[in-house]
């Protein structure tokens, strides 16, 4: 069979070539500080203590995931050494820990440092040191700025993308709506509000009332009453979980039934919808990009089974209703993907190059149809969201996967 001979010939030629190249290939191994033949050192900074300590779960999940990777042989034969420090959500402490990681522990990169103020504090330092500040755990829009900060990259869909998607939906389906907005008076709330106004464009006059609250307030009931009095028929709810649950409950209590948009920050069934009461949360619209582990529709999904197996083995004490656990699981896969594609060239420059060259990557746990994409000019890995509506006891996806890239 001539065809077979040709193939065999090609194969043997390839083998000879590979043998010839293998010596040069090993010479091509390139390392920066923090990487070697056996190990890759990854730094991480989390608020394990302090006001934002609930998010510390993300760091613990990531650590568990890298233990799993190491148990399965590591990445291209190298073990991950995950060094995670506590900054208590205090920016000066973040600077100290980042410097400790870079200058004393000598890590290859810092991954998933959490919070907008802590990351702002180290952004300039990381960029002047040319150490990747990869996949930061904050939804602020400013991380997508490759021109000024080529060593910093975001991860999750940013707040502005999300509110632009809602604005577009309202313009299309409810062009005559009177909109009431309730937002938390900080960077997160204001970022959402800005995106929302940008999305409405010339029609910002549709917003009849903007009300803000402070995180320190015990309850936001009075704000809801005030919003109802304006006669608005669309409600954009930019609140964190505790307040979101209060708002949903209060709405039902005083009989205000606007079209309710709830930001993705508070879309968790376990920590928001259930405490607020399923009957009060019907028809609320929100958006998501990863699977809510408390949502029964994913029970038999392959990704969810894999997630449960991972938790059983490496992080059994995890609270499976906590969305942060799924978040950490997804982003840790993202880092593993980038390191894998670096091959034997583990320089900081190549890490950023590979991170900026992700094409249609789908880590387990994302909603169907949502993909990770980056390029040299797009440092927002996730920029797609799926609109969801609450029906019965779970979220129903509707419409197409929507996207929008916004830079900082």
């Amino acid at each position: 069979m001539p065809a077979m001979h040709v193939r065999l010939g090609a194969l043997s030629a390839a083998l000879v070539l590979a043998a010839a190249l293998s010596t040069t290939a090993s010479a091509q191994k390139k390392y920066d500080t923090g990487a070697s033949d056996t190990e890759i050192k990854i730094g991480n900074i989390m608020p394990y203590s302090g006001p934002a300590s609930a998010y510390g779960v993300i760091g613990k999940t990531e650590e568990a995931y890298f233990r799993k990777i190491n148990a399965e042989g590591g990445i291209n034969g190298r073990k991950i050494n995950f060094i995670s420090y506590d900054d208590a959500y205090s920016p000066p402490k973040t600077v100290e820990q980042a410097r400790k990681l870079v200058e004393s522990d000598e890590v290859l990169l810092i991954f998933q440092s959490l919070g907008t103020p802590p990351n702002s504090a180290i952004q300039k330092y990381m960029n002047s040191k040319k150490v990747p500040q990869l996949f930061v755990a904050t939804g602020a829009t400013k991380w997508n700025d490759p021109r000024n900060f080529p060593w910093t990259m975001g991860w999750q869909p940013n707040y502005q993308i999300e509110s632009i998607i809602y604005a577009k939906y309202i313009l299309k389906n409810h062009p005559n709506a009177k909109i009431a907005v309730l937002y938390q008076n900080d960077d997160y709330g204001k970022d959402y509000l800005k995106g929302f106004k940008d999305g409405l464009g010339a029609k910002t006059s549709m917003i009849v009332v903007e009300e803000s609250y402070e995180v320190s307030e015990p309850t936001i009931d009075s704000h809801i009453v005030k919003l109802k009095a304006t006669g608005a028929d669309v409600f954009f709810n930019i609140t964190t979980p505790k307040f979101a649950a209060q708002a949903i409950k209060k709405n039902a209590e005083i009989g205000w039934k606007p079209l309710h948009f709830l930001n993705n920050v508070s879309a968790s069934i376990g920590s928001v919808i259930k405490p607020a009461g399923f009957e009060n949360a019907q028809d609320i619209i929100s958006s998501q990009y990863f699977m809510d582990p408390t949502d029964a529709q994913w029970k038999d999904d392959k990704a969810m089974i894999g997630w449960n197996e991972f938790l059983d083995k490496y992080y059994p004490e995890a609270n499976r209703a906590d969305a942060s656990v799924m978040y950490g699981y997804v982003v840790a896969q993202g880092l593993a993907h980038v390191l894998k594609s670096c091959g034997d060239n583990l320089t900081r420059e190549n890490v950023m190059k590979q991170a900026a060259n992700i094409k249609d990557y789908e880590p387990a746990g994302l909603l169907p149809g949502i993909k990770v994409n980056t390029s040299a000019t797009d440092f927002a890995p996730l920029s797609q969201l799926q609109l969801i509506r609450f029906k019965g006891e779970h979220w129903e996806r509707f419409g197409e996967v929507l996207s929008g890239d916004v830079g900082g």
Binding site: P91, S104, Q123
Partner: protein, 339 residues
């Protein structure tokens, strides 16, 4: 009883009476410490130099509190507010008005002195725990005041301000960190000498008279109101300088950096270092910087608890903080000499 034993034995009042001579180190020891501070940076990594800079900065802030509490007997849980004002004054002047960093420091000191003095006026009517509570309110309010909308143009609101780190001047072959360290060291030494002399001066004696017995002090002719507010002003001014240096070293200011936690850390530093013992301020600063890191390395999930246990040990074993250890050391050396 020796003078040193007296100091440790009198522990009944809220703030003990520390004789002024017991407030400082001997000249020999001081020079030795200074020499160590000058030489060490030449041999360590930039990260360690950065930590040493932070140690000096927090040391200054604790020193300021020590003058207020150890010197004049007034409590304050609001030092983080003065620290924040100093930090923001420097950051805003440097980033918006392009003023040289070194010049922003006296400006911060003046602004904070005025702020502290004015705050001290109404606070005069309060004493002890009530004063602590009033200053506590100041510390809680400060981060929110910094977020105010009409200040946002200058302060950057919740996003904070990024500060540019200065290079070494005159083309000195020094890293930014090292230069900033020596700069901070000079400022710290100057303020330390100023503080020691202040407490030895007429004003310092007035502070201590008020601390020990207000009625007796006023019947001796000490203007209680003036000296109490003055102590507040001086303390706030020094804290402001620490804040400025802190902003430059960290290169970032944000409301979240100056919460009540900072005020409590400074208070803790003062207690651990020994109330009223000025060199102890720097030992206290070392405690609040390094012990949380140690606690974290022992157990990540329980770092807060481990820190608490360590603090308990310090309070039970050496209730007078570093000063007690220093005195014990002194006595030990004295005994050795006698033998």
């Amino acid at each position: 009883m020796s003078a040193a034993e007296e100091v440790v034995a009198e522990g009944h009042e809220a703030v003990e009476a520390v004789p002024k001579r017991a407030m400082t180190l001997g000249t020999g020891t001081s020079l030795l410490v200074l020499a160590a501070l000058l030489i060490v940076p030449a041999f360590v990594k930039n990260f360690i130099i950065f930590q040493m800079t932070m140690l000096l900065i927090y040391g200054l802030a604790v020193l300021a509190l020590n003058i207020l509490t150890g010197g004049s007997g007034q409590f304050s849980l609001g030092q983080s507010a003065f620290y924040a004002v100093g930090a923001y004054t420097s950051a805003v002047l440097m980033e918006h008005a392009n003023i040289n960093y070194a010049l922003t420091i006296p400006i911060s000191a003046a602004v904070c002195f005025a702020f502290g003095y004015l705050f001290g006026k109404p606070a005069l009517r309060l004493s002890g725990v009530y004063l602590a509570l009033a200053t506590f309110a100041l510390a809680t309010a400060m981060p929110q005041l910094l977020k105010l909308n009409f200040l946002e143009h200058w302060t950057g609101g919740v996003q904070g301000l990024v500060v540019t780190k200065p290079d070494a001047p005159f083309g000195l072959p020094m890293s930014q960190d090292m230069w900033l360290y020596y700069f901070t060291l000079v400022v710290t030494v100057a303020i330390y000498i100023f503080s020691v002399n202040l407490l030895r001066s007429r004003s310092g004696r007035a502070f201590m008279a008020i601390r020990d017995n207000e009625i007796a002090a006023s019947s001796m002719g000490v203007n209680v109101a003036l000296y109490k507010t003055l102590a507040f002003g001086v303390s706030a001014g020094i804290t402001g300088v620490a804040g400025s240096l802190g902003a430059i070293a960290v290169q970032f200011v944000a409301p979240d950096s100056y919460t009540i936690t900072l005020a409590i850390s400074l208070f803790l530093g003062m207690v651990v270092g020994g109330v009223g013992w000025l060199p102890g301020s720097f030992v206290g600063a070392a405690f609040i910087i390094f012990v949380p890191n140690m606690a974290e390395s022992i157990s990540k999930g329980l770092s807060g608890a481990v820190f608490g246990v360590l603090l308990f040990l310090v309070i039970y074993l050496v209730p007078h903080g570093a000063r007690q250890i220093a005195i014990l050391g002194q006595q030990f050396v004295g005994k050795l000499r006698k033998n």
